[in-house]
């Protein structure tokens, strides 16, 4: 070991700029391999989960095995390259959108600085344009004349194990939030490129457990948690007992009841985990207050559809379950809870996958007579649309002072905002249930909203650091309204948000809690015959 001279060291500390490591890459992006280390990748799918799924009808998840991204050898099938290229050819043939997205990007860079992963990491491969280029370069090499002839000069590159590893790294550093697409002059939906990357990776058995286990559970028992029908029912009833203690209102939901007018479906996290539980209490109280003729289903007991983050066949199958159940129960239409990506599936894919749902009626509020023309084809209405209509028609009584402890801001969840265009309804509700709430800066809300950073099944704790980086742009805007107005609550309409923003706030803006909009409605609701306790924390009050 070299002997360090004290005076030389002291001089170097102040004179040499050596303490910093400039990170300017010295190689072309194509030549920088992805390096997997703890904290930057999500755990891989448990083989038994994949084997189970692969045994199911209508979906294919081959090559189940135990493998570790940190290992050199990913235990890929011997003909992995052929599988991938065949899979890509097949998808280019089936999905015209993919072919167009591969061809039409002019690399203008409008998307480059719009991704929360890029903004939180500074990693160029998190620029949506470059993330897409990971696939596009292989497409060029294998499927275009220029790429076949000119190779790298035409932006093409060979499909190698290193490229596959890079795909796995960056397909799981995209939450398919589609903020970049808002800015793309060609309307390229980068989320769909990520979806294709993930599909291709599944062909060789490379996926993450946090996506596949919920998918497997949903396929088996109907919800992400794997709750049995009795457990699901028991949890809802437990919340009803809490509500009775808090408000004196006896809530009597029904389950699997044939002939109900409405089927209500929400993410199972609302029935199971804090702070979604309080949102669920809000739904229950609201439906009781208006005497809605509705039923829960213990089979279609999940609004979330992690199939969207997995493969289009899986998405179709999980989505189909909701409609099959609606048909079995003979309801007129479906009311959906505060979920994010469920609404993207409903609005953008359901109709061509499983629709049109002709056996249902165009949703009509039994209280106000409002016909929800926007849901004429899918027959599914968002709880915020439904609630806003009730308020507008004076069908519920709200007391804002019951939310006196709340000073909020509102996070537009990516999918309800960008995939569904629901921007006004939650705001209208907040105006009616809160005395005070503040918007975040305008380039961080509505269709430009920043993702929570942990969507698309990235809400797993082993990548908490990554989630904190990608959630920084969102948290930074929350911090601004926290510093300026002293807000204490971040309201949202998405179950993944409720879980992930809680962790995000805990790191970046301690002192801000996360609440569903329906929880705030439940807090403010005045119900005839109630015997409400002094609820200083609303439905969260411990009595």
């Amino acid at each position: 070991m070299a002997v360090i001279k004290k005076d030389a060291l002291a001089r170097s500390v102040v004179e040499d700029p050596t303490l910093m490591t400039g990170s300017m890459p010295d190689k072309d992006w194509m030549d920088i391999p992805a390096v997997f280390k703890p904290g930057n990748y999500a755990y891989t799918t448990k083989p038994e989960k994949l084997e189970y799924l692969n045994s199911q009808q209508g979906v294919s998840f081959p090559n189940a095995r135990a493998w570790n991204p940190e290992d050199e050898d990913w235990k890929l099938p011997a003909n992995w390259k052929e599988i991938i290229l065949k899979g890509l050819a097949d998808r280019l043939d089936r999905f015209r959108s993919l072919k167009i997205f591969m061809d039409c990007c002019v690399r203008c860079g409008a998307c480059a600085d719009k991704c929360h992963f890029f903004l939180g990491t500074g990693d160029p491969k998190n620029m949506p344009v470059l993330r897409a280029e990971l696939l596009r370069s292989v497409y060029r090499k294998e499927f275009t004349l220029a790429g076949k002839l000119l190779g790298k000069m035409a932006g093409g590159r060979e499909m190698t194990v290193s490229v596959l590893k890079e795909w796995f790294m960056y397909a799981y550093q995209c939450t398919e939030c589609r903020r970049c697409s808002v800015f793309c002059p060609y309307g390229i939906d980068t989320a769909e490129i990520t979806m294709m990357l993930r599909e291709l990776l599944h062909l060789v058995g490379c996926g993450i457990n946090w996506a596949m286990e919920p998918v497997s559970n949903s396929n088996r028992t109907g919800n992400h948690m794997g709750l049995t029908p009795q457990a699901f029912k028991g949890n809802v009833e437990f919340l009803c007992e809490d509500l009775e203690n808090l408000t004196g209102v006896k809530v009597n939901p029904t389950f699997n009841r044939k002939g109900a007018e409405v089927l209500f479906i929400t993410p199972s996290a609302d029935v199971f985990a804090e702070p979604g539980l309080f949102t669920c209490m809000g739904y229950l109280l609201l439906f009781e207050a208006i005497g809605l003729d509705y039923t829960w289903s213990t089979y279609a007991s999940e609004g979330g559809n992690f199939g969207l983050f997995t493969s289009n066949e899986m998405m179709k199958k999980l989505n189909g379950k909701m409609y099959t159940e609606a048909k079995r129960l003979g309801v007129k239409w479906i009311l959906g809870g505060e979920c994010g990506h469920m609404w993207r599936v409903i609005h953008q894919y359901m109709d061509t996958m499983n629709g049109p749902a002709d056996f249902l009626e165009v949703p009509k509020s039994p209280l106000t007579g409002t016909v929800f023309e926007n849901a004429a084809s899918t027959k599914m209405v968002h709880i915020s649309e439904f609630t806003a209509d009730l308020i507008k028609n004076g069908k519920i009584k709200l007391d804002k002072s019951r939310n006196a402890h709340i000073k909020a801001t509102f996070h537009d969840s990516c999918n309800p905002a960008r995939a569904m265009g629901m921007l006004e309804e939650p705001r209208y509700i907040l105006n009616n249930v809160l005395d005070e709430w503040h918007e975040m800066p305008k380039n961080t809300i509505r269709e430009k909203t920043f993702c929570c950073g942990s969507g698309t099944a990235l809400n797993t704790e082993e990548i908490m650091e990554l989630r904190m980086r990608s959630g920084l742009p969102r948290a930074n805007a929350v911090k601004h309204v926290y510093d300026k107005h002293g807000i204490n609550t971040l309201a949202c309409v998405c179950a993944i948000d409720r879980a992930t923003l809680s962790a995000l706030m805990n790191y970046w803006v301690p002192g801000v809690q996360v609440a569903g909009v329906s929880e705030l409605v439940g807090n403010a609701l005045v119900i005839e015959g109630e015997n409400r306790q002094e609820l200083t924390e609303g439905l969260r009050t411990l009595v």
Binding site: L119, P124, M468
Partner: protein, 184 residues
Amino acid sequence: MNLSEALKRNEEKILALWTERTLDTYESSSFFKKSQDRFANPVGMNIREGLAKLFRLLAEGAAAQAFAEPLDQIIRIRAVQQFTPSQAVAPVLDLKWAVRQILSADKDCRELLPELAPFDRDADRAALQAFDLYMDCRERLHKTRIRELKSGSYILTDSACASALIRDNLRELSPTGGCAADKA
């Protein structure tokens, strides 16, 4: 001219160099350097603002407690990025180098270089504080992980099928192993 005046006179140049070097630690830093929008560019602007505030406090000889806020603005971000602990806090120490670079290029200020010892001492204090803060952030990160695990969402991935659990229990109870459910 005394040192304090020299630092004030060269503030812009020192900050420009210091910020540039700090943002150079990111692989693709041109957007971080360019965009002046605090919400479109949270890393670039928080670091820019944090460094500027910290420099002013150091230049005016403020008490060390005052460093906490600007340091938080910088370190909370770098603590969750892919830096080693030393890389995360290094920008604070790099100020000493940036100050020397700029002052030695200014002929009126060059002679003040030997007087920088108290300034250096304060910068060192800030760097040590930055390390404490880095550790706080890492601890908070891990507590957030634990909190999430405890909150019950882990059941999402680690739950066993209820009917399989019942079967396992029955199997354990049966002296011969196996249970009626297996035979069915």
